[in-house]
């Protein structure tokens, strides 16, 4: 009988990649994902698509904030650079989407590098304020560079086409989104199994000690910004293709806060946590909406009430996790799992 996962020796512990999915499981996961659009209705597909985009964005933010300890309120700005670059490259320069998205992500990385420079001098709250400045500068440029961005109105983005096949439905865009979500998750997972990921955590835990064993703080702080904004760039590019329109309000400060909430609730410094957080933050308003719909019969004003309830519930959830479960849903899940593995011998 399997009785918990106690590793006693180093030899059995050597399986560093133990959490790596076995190929069979990976194939099953991919097959499952491929089937989703065939069974899910457009409503749930839309929700799943938004979760997928949020997963990529949240992993990006978690790499910067959760793993490297550099607080950023500038994530919406990074998303907007990714979305606008993708849209502009496609609409104005006629670049195909499969080239536009990586180019835009690369551009967003450069942008992240630029706005990461203050991190070499600033920490904590001061860095947060600097990233806030990045947010407002970006928003300002987007609104005022009308020739490129069409200002506050934004502009439409034609659907991506694959071999002349337009990705113009929720089902079709689902494949594009999850074709990027899966590698984004695995890339990040792999990164934190070895050198670079460990260096990020070392910088977060104790920068003095990281430097003294040869980890260049300059390089890794900036690298965290670069990787984080690359993810944000991809997520932004997908947002442009999912909503097929880019406009400034889609990248308000609230979006940055939402992403911070995702990683706080899901679990700081956890890739899986980013996924849970992205799902939680996307699903919660839907659940509230469903609740409201069923209530309208009894209480016609339920929708208005729920709209304000959303913010309150989010606020309370954030406070709850910060106070009682700083490692987020990921930690709760882990406890739950080890409980069942040991059950009924748990003590």
């Amino acid at each position: 009988m399997r009785c918990g996962d106690f590793r006693v020796s180093y030899a059995s512990d050597e399986r560093i990649f133990e959490t790596r999915l076995p190929p069979v499981a990976l194939a099953a996961l991919l097959a499952l994902l491929a089937l989703v659009p065939l069974v899910a209705g457009t409503y749930w597909l839309d929700v799943l698509n938004r979760i997928g985009i949020a997963i990529i964005g949240a992993i990006g933010l978690n790499i910067l904030v959760g793993f490297t300890g550099q607080i950023s309120i500038g994530h919406a700005a990074f998303l907007s650079v990714g979305a606008y670059s993708t849209a502009i490259l496609e609409v104005k320069a006629g670049v195909p989407f499969w080239l536009a998205i990586p180019l835009a992500a690369g551009l967003t990385s450069g942008f992240g590098l630029l706005f990461g420079v203050p991190s070499l001098r600033l920490k904590g709250l001061y860095l947060a304020i600097a990233t806030l400045a990045a947010h407002f500068i970006t928003a300002y440029v987007i609104i005022h560079w009308e020739r490129m961005t069409n200002g506050v109105l934004g502009f439409n983005v034609p659907p991506a086409t694959v071999f002349g096949f337009p990705l113009d439905s929720d089902a079709r865009i689902f494949y594009l989104i999850f074709a990027l979500v899966v590698p984004a998750v695995f890339f990040a997972k792999n990164l934190f199994r070895t050198k670079v990921g460990r260096a990020f955590i070392a910088v977060r835990d104790r920068d003095v000690a990281a430097a003294v064993i040869g980890v260049s703080l300059y390089r890794y702080k900036l690298l965290a910004f670069v990787i984080s904004s690359f993810y944000a760039g991809v997520a932004g590019g997908l947002m442009a293709h999912h909503s097929r329109i880019v406009f400034p309000d889609a990248f308000s400060l609230l979006v940055a806060i939402d992403y911070l909430a995702m990683i706080i609730i899901g679990g700081m410094g956890s890739i899986l946590g980013s996924i849970y957080g992205a799902a939680f933050m996307t699903l919660l308003p839907e659940v509230l909406k469903l609740g409201a719909t069923s209530l309208t019969g009894v209480y016609p004003n339920a929708f208005g009430l729920i709209a304000s309830a959303r913010d309150i519930v989010f606020g309370l959830a954030i406070i709850f996790f910060l106070m009682y479960e700083p490692q987020g849903l990921a930690r709760i899940w882990m406890r739950f799992r080890s409980f069942w593995k040991l059950w009924p011998y748990a003590y």
């Binding site: 990649f17 890339f187 050198k195 460990r198 260096a199 990281a210 430097a211 003294v212 064993i213 980890v215």
Partner: protein
Amino acid sequence: MAAACLSVDDLCVNFGGLRAVDHVSFAIESGRIHGLIGPNGAGKTTIFNCVTGFYRPTSGRVRFLEHDITGFRPDQVAKLGIARTFQNVQLFASLSVLDNVLVAKHGHMRTGVLAEGLGLPFVRKQEHAVRDTAFGLLDFLGLADLHRKPAASLPLGHQKRLELARALALEPKLLLLDEPASGLNTSETQALGEMLGRVRERFALTVLLVEHDMGLVMNVTDVITVLNFGRKIAEGTPKDVQNDPEVIKAYLGETAGAGRG
């Protein structure tokens, strides 16, 4: 005379009006265990911080082997082969014991973001190799059984040993130890002394040791430099230093040194 591994020339460090290090010069021969002692506030840690790039000296030079490392960044100093431990232990609290050591393998790993993210086979091979080395090191220092524990959960004695393991993982040529015995009891201190001997033998290291425990210092060092109020007041073999009237005067009234020194 053997070649100098580290030489500090005419070093001065000011903090505002306070001169923490005042025209100090000394050289450490390769392969030696060199002691650096002095009463509290004498400037020992400040010298460590100058050597490892945390402070920039007000004047003077620091040379390591053939390099002038004055003004280098800490990570640059580390790459040249200088490792240190801290007076107040500085571990990566959330990482496991093994991971703490693995972080120090950073400089020996050649892979980049792309290869690691893609999980290429040679990345995994490299990771296994450094894990073996790190585990061997933990074994050598008697921490192997604890390798999965979070660093923060260890008692102080083990934390200090882990910090030593992490420093050794750099495969340094020069090891700076800042009060490795502070907070340890007598038997632990004795064990530490023996361990230092073994470490020097196995890793062919040069060591600069700052320590208040005079028993340990007199036992393990070949040469001792004595500081007081930022100035060098004596240098020589443990025996010479012990009988030096300047040194005795500096330590008078200091409980740590007066009894044994």
